[in-house]
């Protein structure tokens, strides 16, 4: 018996439902047909918006309009879009510093997001946060956070506030595989479990914490979800390149959290097509690996599937692309033309009244 089989067997012995692993969700025609055409096109629209936003960010980093660290989400769109499409407006979202994708998937203003990256007064955080700190509290989007793993207890606290006030809502916390070796990851899983917090732990496993492959830095293999048994948190693995699979998995997870009043854990296997940050030469991984994952590029695979299944047409897909390209060039123009913050704003927003 392999160790993996052992884990699975142990799980099947659990009777309290705590460590049960749902089956891996797969891209199949059955769940494709569970959505309306318009929903499919909206998922594509969001993913393509993110990809083009990131492409524009790259260009504007190269020409100096964006500075500091810039971490692009290209490749992981199916994960962010799929997950957030299954959340409600009343749910909180907390994420890591690769946050553009989640922000746009949540519907944060594209112009103000781009303006924030340009450091402008019209930015979501008035130019004080930058790429790693996108916030829109009115949409319960509680930030991009840049200390690896540091956002986890913040999310637990937001979930605590929902539990305390008997809200019928959850908090979703996105984090990467890099954060799983931080003590705070384990502390937060434990706290959320013993307090039965309504939180969805959403691991975006893109296999690399900056330049370190998880194979080099993690004891316990490449799968994270089996370890959730230790914390008595039910978990699920999902193909993170498959937007429908992620959407369905998140829908199930949200229902379980509300119904069982317990946390849930999703591990989404995904991949970033670009470097860790813009200035990354990617010496730590082979281009063959990147090419292999590019075969699963959701921006290409998903619309092709929609066309093959006669859910949509080439013309409709192209029309969406043209619309989005225009939105992105408008956003870049808006950011460019926006004013710099005033110097006297340096002392604003430190303390609340």
């Amino acid at each position: 018996m392999t160790s993996k089989e052992k884990i699975v067997k142990n799980k099947s012995l659990q009777t309290n439902g705590s460590g049960k692993i749902a089956k891996k969700s797969n891209f199949s025609s059955s769940n494709l047909s569970s959505l309306k055409k318009n929903e499919h096109l909206n998922l594509f629209r969001k993913m393509y918006l993110i990809r083009q936003f990131e492409n524009a960010c790259g260009q504007n980093y190269a020409n100096g309009n964006i500075r500091g660290f810039l971490h692009l989400y290209s490749g992981q769109e199916a994960t962010g879009v799929g997950a957030i499409s299954s959340l409600k407006d009343s749910d909180y979202i907390v994420t890591h510093y690769r946050d553009h994708g989640h922000a746009l998937a949540r519907g944060l203003d594209v112009n103000r997001s781009m303006a924030e990256l340009f450091g402008k007064k019209t930015g979501l955080s008035k130019g004080k946060g930058g790429s790693m700190h996108l916030f829109d509290a009115s949409k319960k989007f509680m930030g991009g956070h840049a200390i690896v793993g540091g956002q986890l207890p913040l999310a637990a606290g937001l979930a605590l506030s929902q539990q305390y006030e008997n809200k019928n809502a959850i908090t979703t916390c996105f984090f990467g595989d890099g954060s799983t070796n931080q003590g705070i990851y384990h502390e937060t899983l434990n706290l959320a479990s013993v307090w039965n917090l309504p939180i969805l732990f959403f691991l975006e496993n893109n296999k690399y914490g900056m330049g370190s492959s998880i194979e080099r830095v993690r004891a316990g293999g490449l799968d994270f979800f089996p370890a959730m048994d230790t914390y008595e948190i039910p978990s699920m693995e999902v193909d993170g390149m498959d937007v429908i699979a992620v959407k369905e998995a998140t829908k199930i997870a949200r229902e379980k959290i509300i119904q069982n009043k317990k946390p849930f854990f999703i591990e989404s296997k995904t991949f970033r097509f670009v470097g860790h940050s813009y200035a990354d030469g990617q010496k730590y991984r082979h281009q063959d690996e990147v090419k292999q994952w590019e075969q699963k590029d959701p921006i290409l695979v998903y619309p092709k599937k929609l066309i093959d299944m006669k859910i949509s047409t080439n013309d409709e897909i192209n029309k969406i692309k043209i619309e989005i390209d225009e939105i992105i060039s408008d956003a870049v123009r808006f950011a460019n033309e926006s004013e710099e913050p005033n110097l006297d704003e340096i002392y604003d927003d430190i303390l609340a009244e």
Binding site: H133, M142, L154, G157, E187, T188, L191, A352
Partner: protein, 325 residues
């Protein structure tokens, strides 16, 4: 006007807040079943229930972070750390998260939260439980830091701290929980950021806070005996610092002594010294004198610990030496 201990004052303020505002809850290690390491929340679990009096795992980073999240979500958590030395374990959450959240979100988020923590040496708890990191935390913009030296301030400051819409570090001198002083029956608050001239005098302005203010009170008679009339200022707040009151006092005395029971180097008094030099140096007739505890890890042995800790003799000796009295 009843005489109560600092412990009772804190308990009164917490009890009031819990009764008056359902968004207030308390969490920390062993604050419920056990009643709190310093018994401040003794009896609270029975009265308010486990939903609002939350015992936490020994996970300072996680429950401080969760407090920040709960505050960002609209609640008003009061978090107890068993020692301010343990704030180091949660430093990322306190400094990076609580201190920066409002600024990096462009003012969208506020963190109305109090972190209570016993501070200071003198009870033989050795190197890792005797430090005074309120002095480090006072450097962080976006966080307020207060520390009472008597029951009146403990009650008044805690009332204000819980109502404040920002993270407030509430350092409680470990040596003073049982110290008694008068508190009026009528409701009052102490505004965060206002120092208190606790003793009027003419010759030297002496500034301190927390346990240091208690040491200063003990020095008054000794100073009077050698013909010095000291004016004592109790800071009460380390961030912000009430420079106006200090400057007003040195305009009268023209001398400034800064007393800290934390380690001397790199503490809050170094900062005050530099600032007063810049803002009001022309009013001084002699050097600014700093008195602080010795720059060593805190020893366990009682005689050694007392030797390291600032006392009234250290203050007297420094004044005599520096002002040639």
């Amino acid at each position: 006007m009843p005489e109560i201990t600092i412990r009772e004052a804190l308990k009164t303020a917490l009890n009031e807040a819990m009764e008056n505002d359902e968004k207030v809850f308390i969490m920390g290690e062993d604050i419920g079943e056990y009643g709190g390491a310093y018994a401040v929340t003794d009896g609270f679990l029975k009265k308010f229930g486990s939903q609002r009096i939350k015992d936490t795992p020994i996970s300072e980073q996680a429950f401080v972070g969760a407090g920040i999240g709960a505050a960002a979500g609209g609640l008003r958590p009061v978090i107890e750390l068993m020692s301010i030395s343990f704030s180091l374990v949660a430093f990322d959450q306190i400094v990076n998260m609580a201190g920066n959240l409002r600024y990096m979100s462009g003012g969208q988020i506020s963190v109305p939260m109090v972190i209570r923590a016993p501070t200071g040496a003198g009870v033989q708890l050795a190197a890792t439980h005797s430090q005074s990191f309120e002095t480090w935390l006072a450097e962080v913009p976006g966080i307020k830091v207060v520390c009472p030296s008597n029951s009146y301030d403990a009650l008044g400051l805690m009332r204000s701290a819980i109502k404040d819409n920002n993270p407030v570090i509430f350092a409680e001198p470990a040596l003073l929980y049982g110290s008694k002083s008068n508190v009026p029956d009528e409701y009052f608050e102490v505004t965060l950021g206002e120092a208190n001239v606790s003793h009027k005098g003419e010759d030297i302005t002496i500034v301190s806070y927390g346990y240091g203010s208690k040491v200063l009170t003990d020095s008054v008679n000794k100073l009077n005996e050698i013909g010095i009339s000291p004016e004592l200022i109790d800071l009460r707040s380390l961030n912000p610092i009430d420079y106006e009151k200090i400057i007003l006092s040195i305009q009268k005395t023209n001398r400034l002594v800064l007393v800290d029971t934390a380690r001397k180097t790199g503490g809050i008094m170094s900062e005050i010294s530099a600032n007063i030099n810049e803002k009001a140096g022309e009013w001084l007739d002699g050097p600014i004198v700093r008195v602080g505890s010795k720059d060593v890890p805190w020893p366990y042995n009682k005689t050694l610990e007392q030797e390291v800790l600032t006392d009234s003799d250290n203050i007297l000796d420094s004044i005599k030496e520096n002002y040639g009295i």
